[in-house]
Subunit: 148 residues, 2 copies
């Protein structure tokens, strides 16, 4: 399974989130062999829950795993510090990122700490977030902790 | 409200978690004026959910907030990278930590990045975690992503 194919799953999740009225960020956790362990999307609006980012939802939906070193977290957007911290703490081996143009989180820090980082700069991801941020800057800023 | 009084709330949460058969780590989010916004505890075992650490449960239970700069996250144990990332991303202004003897996460990194960090080295917290780690090393290692 290619990084691009893994990203397709995260993009589908982001689109589901958007259709639900939520913030369009999706993610999925795969084994390095391409087995999908779990996928998810940001649920701040849908669940009224600030703790559910795309990556944390995918991580939760993957269930309890005993070893994350041979897993890949794919996400439509550069992981924020919260989600980068998740990757580092659980020793997730690799991260595939849709884009880091509209927001850049902790992916350089992850690379410095041994995580294999692949940045795809996927145009679907860029346009989805660009449109969302223009449409709902209030929600977007709330989701990344930027106060007014 | 003193840091020690805030810690009491987190200790109560950790004890609840232990009584439920879970990992005894508790946390709470306060305003700097001492108003409790939310508290919670690790729910890996209880909810079969690897994404719920003490701090993320407290953060969730505090609901959606528009500005975290004047809040204090109190936790019984040094926050792991996942929970340290949460604090950094949402610009939580201060962290009060029960102890960092049994585990040391990202609290120095938080201090370097402008978070006010208070480390209490509370003996109740040290003994609770020391006993838990001796009793259930499997669960503890799972919770911090240490593979066998």
């Amino acid at each position: 399974m290619t990084p691009e194919q893994m990203l397709d799953v995260a993009v589908d999740e982001a689109r589901k989130g958007l259709a639900e009225g939520g913030i369009p960020i999706g993610a999925a956790l795969f084994t390095t062999d391409g087995v999908l362990l779990g996928s998810g999307h940001n649920r701040r609006v849908q669940n009224d829950d600030p703790s559910v980012h795309g990556e944390t939802d995918a991580f939760r939906n993957a269930g309890r795993q005993r070893d994350y070193r041979s897993t890949v977290m794919v996400t439509t957007l550069s992981p924020c510090w919260y989600c980068s911290g998740l990757v580092r703490q659980f020793n997730i081996g690799a991260v595939v990122i849709g884009e880091a143009k509209t927001f850049s989180g902790g992916h350089d820090w992850l690379a410095e700490n041994g995580v294999q980082v692949t940045l795809l700069e996927d145009e679907r991801c860029v346009s989805m977030m660009t449109e969302f941020i223009a449409d709902r800057p209030d929600l977007w800023n709330e989701d990344i902790g930027v106060a007014e």
